[in-house]
Amino acid sequence: MYELICIGASWGGLSAVGRLLADISEDVTLPIAIAQHRHPGALEGTLRELLALQIRRPVTDVEDKTPIEPCRVYLAPPDYHLLVEPGSFALSLDERVQFARPSIDVLFESAADAYGDRVIGVILTGANEDGAAGLARIKARGGVAIVQDPRGAERRVMPDAALAATVADAVLPLEEIGKFLYGLCVTPAVTQR
């Protein structure tokens, strides 16, 4: 069974991430980690507050060693990389990757290393190529790769790059990704005879 959903977004991501999270049924209990590119000086807390208005899941700005718990949404803090260890998050100030910190590649690759085939990666809109290598790593480790259909994305560079780097399991319009995740993560209750 899957254990973690990772979402990466850049340009246009604020509204896309909000939309996607709002679409994910509460029956999906997997923790969700998000790397959204932001201005390094971006006020911490603002993205969390924005999302809190749109969704019911608790949203957390990750601190060092924050434990990974079901149902929660975790945000990479501005100007730190967000990494996944088994059971908890780690942060780092390593150099920017592809000009980005947080880097989607760093999040996705560490998630794949820590959780193997139990990771679902989702790449949304963006104007750079961050995330492509990370999604390929998730896929190589047996996880699931989902990419927003570039044709409907506010910026298509990022989904295009992700599709060039790996064979995605699903290429979907934004409004259908939530439903797809539901199908992946929620096993229909088997009625006992």
């Binding site: 601190e63 060092d64 060693k65 260890e85 942060l91 780092s92 990757v97 560490s110 290393d113 790593r137």
Partner: protein, 286 residues
């Protein structure tokens, strides 16, 4: 296998356990051969940085790097630079310095003499920032700053006090937001190779190599600043370092951590009270 981007590394599917083993052997080798103990560093970012060195050396595996560095000290030095992430900035997190002015400086004024330990000072930007702040508050003369890092080459750069000119605009903004009271440009002169900061800022600074993992406390300090260093450590090692700091602080001594760090969940949580939680400033109470 010569790509420089660790991201693009072609790694055999299902090889993750082998990779873990190789990584552990490398860290063991580094420790036994050179005495640097990275065995309890947080593995996710450690693995990335080791791979970066593997590719930069044009090798294909972590074991290849192990072999090379066991026989070649220069390779070890390069890996050491990779493993100690030295990213830093002047007045990083300006609000931290505002809180330091408001909540720590008044305490310092009550002491005839203050010892401050900046642990993991990297190339010194944080030390010069603190020195500027203390000077402006009129307490620098009565203070001594002990600035330490595991990495000797960053300490050399810290002693030099030359920082990239192109950063000065950002640092000036940080300085203003940090509550600076003068013109930031008074503190440096533009030299051909960068911004040379006033030597007087480090008159009362001692730079020294110190390894938080294996070295002991070397004094008692009124204030310990250790920001963005322990995020690279595993929980157990963090607890060890917290023990070291606890021992080195008198009652009411102050501990400052990075914005994203906290002593919550550490065994020393109850020994401190929050001086300013948002800024991760704590005061030892028992």
């Amino acid at each position: 296998m010569t790509s420089v981007e660790p991201s693009q590394s072609a790694r055999p599917a299902g090889g993750e356990e082998l990779e873990d083993l190789e990584l552990r052997l490398l860290l063991e080798g580094v420790f036994r051969r050179y005495g640097f103990d990275f065995r309890e560093y947080a593995p996710a970012s450690l693995r990335r940085r080791v791979w970066r060195r593997v590719h930069a050396e044009r090798l294909g595996t972590i074991s290849g790097l192990t072999e090379k560095l066991l026989h070649d000290e220069a390779t070890m030095e390069r890996l050491l630079l990779d493993l100690s992430v030295n990213v830093t900035a002047m007045f990083r997190d300006p609000t931290f310095y505002v809180a330091f002015r408001q909540k720590v400086v008044p305490v310092l004024r009550t002491h005839p003499f203050t010892r401050i330990w900046v642990a993991g000072c990297s190339t010194g930007e944080e030390v010069y920032s603190l020195a500027i702040l203390l000077q402006e508050e009129g307490v620098y003369e009565r203070a001594r700053i002990y600035a330490t890092d595991i990495n000797e080459s960053v300490l050399d750069r810290a002693r030099g006090g030359v920082f990239p000119l192109e950063k000065m605009r950002e640092y000036t903004q940080n300085y203003i937001r940090a509550g600076g009271t003068r013109a930031f440009s008074e503190y440096y002169v533009a030299a051909y190779d960068g911004a040379q900061f006033q030597r007087s800022l480090i008159e009362n600074v001692v730079f020294a190599q110190h390894n938080l993992v294996s070295d002991r406390s070397f004094n008692e300090f009124h204030v310990i600043v250790c920001r963005n260093v322990m995020i690279y450590f595993e929980k157990k090692l963090q607890d060890h370092v917290h023990g070291l700091f606890y021992e080195s602080l008198p009652t009411f001594g102050i501990l400052a951590l990075g914005h994203k760090e906290s002593i919550r969940f550490s065994p020393f949580e109850d020994r401190y009270e929050e001086l300013d939680n948002g800024e991760k400033l704590y005061r030892k109470v028992v």
